[in-house]
């Protein structure tokens, strides 16, 4: 690792001010960023640790929404969202391993937008709102391709506001070595329709499968998508699976998610 300074501000305002420095980078739980720094794939001059900011932590209900502070760990979401939004809690409880879940945060995962990360699927399928230090961003506008988001330099995610669906499920087909999603599908059924978000599969990162959404909004059953197919075009192909394999998994996992929701 190249060396850098670490600053640990206590408020969002101080963190934003610290991030205005040249080559400064926000540090969430570090479960992706620290391995990246070790591999010298990033070389910030300064890391602004968000872990000392109390107002970024915790979950709360706001009417029919569940609002989760960006510094909330996966373990906390797994435990504390279990009643309010069980599918989201189950997703959080399946990320990494217990020690990783004690450090990794929802805000860090979303800001990184790894194409195989779990949280982007939940946020996009829920139609959640990403709240930052400067504005609110709809999930449909937030994710802009592999490792790319709508966040500006120095902008920090402060919380994520989820509308709680009537029924939902996340189904992940784990890549057996990394346990990241080879493909993961989050299905969320709301009064006004169904949203389906897919992670792990596309070279453009998380995406909505709109044909399935239309079919499932008419008839919320696994049979409703039996006639659909997913094009392998634009799907990730690597030693773990071909584009055709991933496209096939999208449909299989969507069916499983509907059945489990």
């Amino acid at each position: 690792m190249y060396n850098f300074e670490i600053e640990r501000p206590g408020t969002i305002e101080e963190a934003v001010a610290a991030l205005a420095a040249e080559e400064a980078q926000a540090l969430g739980g570090g479960q992706t960023l620290i391995p990246t720094l070790k591999a010298r794939l990033a070389a910030p001059a300064k890391l602004v640790s968000l872990s000392g900011i109390a107002e970024l932590k915790g979950l709360r209900r706001e009417g029919d929404r569940l609002v989760i502070g960006s510094g909330t760990t996966h373990a906390e979401v797994a435990r504390e969202a279990a009643e309010a939004y069980p599918a989201l809690a189950a997703l959080a409880g399946g990320i990494g391993d217990p020690a990783v879940r004690n450090r990794g945060t929802i805000g860090g995962s979303l800001a990184n937008n790894d194409p195989s990360a779990c949280y982007p699927a939940a946020v996009l399928a829920s139609g959640a709102t990403v709240i930052t230090s400067t504005r609110e961003i709809a999930a449909d506008d937030f994710f802009q391709g592999m490792f790319t988001t709508a966040l500006d330099d120095g902008e920090i995610i402060t919380s994520v506001s989820f509308p709680v669906p009537q029924a939902a499920s996340y189904q992940k087909f784990e890549q057996p070595a990394s346990r990241f999603a080879l493909v993961g599908v989050f299905v969320a059924k709301f009064a006004d329709g169904v949203r389906v978000a897919v992670t792990g599969a596309s070279e453009d990162g998380v995406f909505r499968w709109s044909e399935a959404e239309a079919a499932l909004s008419e008839d919320f059953s696994a049979d409703a998508i039996s006639g659909l197919s997913v094009s392998p075009e634009g799907m990730i192909g690597d030693l773990h699976g071909t584009p055709e394999y991933r496209a096939h998994l999208v449909k299989v996992l969507t069916g499983r998610a509907v059945a489990a929701a």
Binding site: M1, F4, I6, K38, P98, A99, R103
Partner: protein, 161 residues
């Protein structure tokens, strides 16, 4: 260099670290607590697991400065006050839960974290909880058995005597 202070195994400690100094390096090189091991250095193997404010974390994937003010427990803090092995440590010895022993500090710390939140875990729960701790010797059966025994459960039905 920046000064960092924390409580490790009940003792107040401090030292000078760089921004990039990992918690595990501060423990091992700064404090001489070499019981915590670095296996993979890529947050996969779990040999470096310690408790920070009661939570199991991979100390190779956390900066020392992030533990400022925290209560850290390492394998050196797991024995009984008189120096004898704790119930969990003794169970690893009794049930051959280790061979080369390299992964054992992390296994003990993860197992202790599991038992703190789930005092009588099932075999499946133990195996799932140890997902982030790799052992290349034992095949895990005796580790699982040791943890079940430490939680006061009958281990006669566990695989691989």
């Amino acid at each position: 260099m920046t000064k960092v202070s924390m409580t490790v195994n009940g003792k107040a400690v401090s030292g000078e670290v760089e921004g990039r100094t990992l918690l595990v390096d501060f423990l091992r090189q700064g404090l001489g607590l070499t019981g915590t091991h670095v296996g993979c250095d890529t947050s996969q193997c779990g040999a470096c697991v310690v408790h920070v404010d009661g939570k199991a974390v991979k100390s190779c994937t956390m900066f020392a400065l992030e533990a400022e003010g925290a209560h850290v427990t390492t394998i050196e803090g797991m024995a009984n006050p008189d120096g004898s092995l704790s119930t969990l440590q003794q169970a690893f010895q009794d049930h051959h839960g280790l061979q080369c022993g390299f992964c054992t500090p992390g296994m003990i710390m993860s197992a202790a974290a599991l038992l703190a939140e789930n005092p009588r875990p099932s075999e499946a729960e133990i195996r799932e909880y140890l997902e982030g701790n790799l052992c290349r010797c034992t095949g895990y059966h005796n580790i699982v058995k040791a943890i079940m025994a430490a939680s006061g459960q009958d281990v006669s039905s566990i695989a691989a005597e």
